[in-house]
Symmetry: C2
Subunit: 173 residues, 2 copies
């Protein structure tokens, strides 16, 4: 990965996240990245290819975020780490995740398989913890985490530490 190529991805990410994909011109991306417009097409073929590259990066980061939970062997810790997950995302990455969430609403880019391993791990954990309905608990928590992620990015949640402990307490952790 060359430096210029990385700069293109970075600029595209910021612009796509804030102005939307279609309303961001490749010329604007090039200007922002300090490269010639042609270079974008050399590296990514077309504008859609650029978006695709960003999506792949998104899936990679999601797997990275989930990995520690999957590696966990203590059921209670699985639930706890899942809840804490969105709170651990640094603000510097919000642009990135905002774009990912946005793209989830475009059918062609939505891939539900990405979080399947997490759901399965949670089912296992809730079963081990003797919850009455592990499948539903797992589903609720996974989807709920999504919502929390959204709200964090939007800045809806004011007192984050308090909200986190509130949640942990709900699961008696």
């Amino acid at each position: 990965m060359t430096e210029k190529k990385e700069k293109i991805l970075e600029s595209a990410l910021e612009l796509f996240a804030n102005q939307g994909y279609t309303s961001t011109a490749t010329s604007k991306i090039a200007r922002e990245a300090g490269v010639s417009e042609g270079l974008i097409f050399r590296h990514f073929g077309n504008k859609a290819g650029l978006l695709r590259a960003i999506m792949e990066e998104g899936n990679r980061r999601l797997r990275e975020l989930i990995a520690p939970v999957l590696a966990e062997t203590d059921p209670a810790a699985v639930v706890q780490k899942t809840i804490e997950m969105p709170f651990g995302v640094p603000e510097s990455e919000y642009d990135f995740w905002r774009l990912q969430f946005k793209l989830k609403w475009d059918e062609e880019y939505y891939n539900p398989d990405n979080i399947k391993p997490l759901t399965e791990k949670l089912v296992w954990a809730f079963t081990a913890l003797n919850f009455e309905d592990p499948e539903m608990e797992a589903q609720l928590l996974v989807q709920y985490n999504d919502t929390i992620g959204v709200d964090m990015i939007r800045g809806v949640i004011r007192d984050r530490p308090a909200f986190k402990s509130f949640l942990l307490k709900k699961y008696e952790l």
Copy 2:
């Protein structure tokens, strides 16, 4: 409201919801609605005006959905009705709500004030029910509802009645 005008709104809604606002051409809307393209501009001024009209309808429907909860005087019933809310939305309206969720990501169209009355009502209810932290409970439930709305639209939730009772049980209702 003439018939053609209504047909335009209908087609625009479907296309915006499924293909996105910017990537939907006014010519396509006209074709889908079986009207001349010029008519769109006669009725709505421009493309943004068309979207605005749809959004206004959205806020109206949201208020309609929330109204019964606000009218409720029994605290437990407030919580119960809130939980049941998303389950009562007919599938025929999913396009509509999908668009609303999608547009939440465009700052200019997102208006958080819409659900504020609901949150406040829930704070009141949870206080009356002696929950330890009414503000956070209210916030949590509102977010749950968002999550569930999203899941229903995506078709993630398979057994809806079961999931509904699962949630109600969580609040001991």
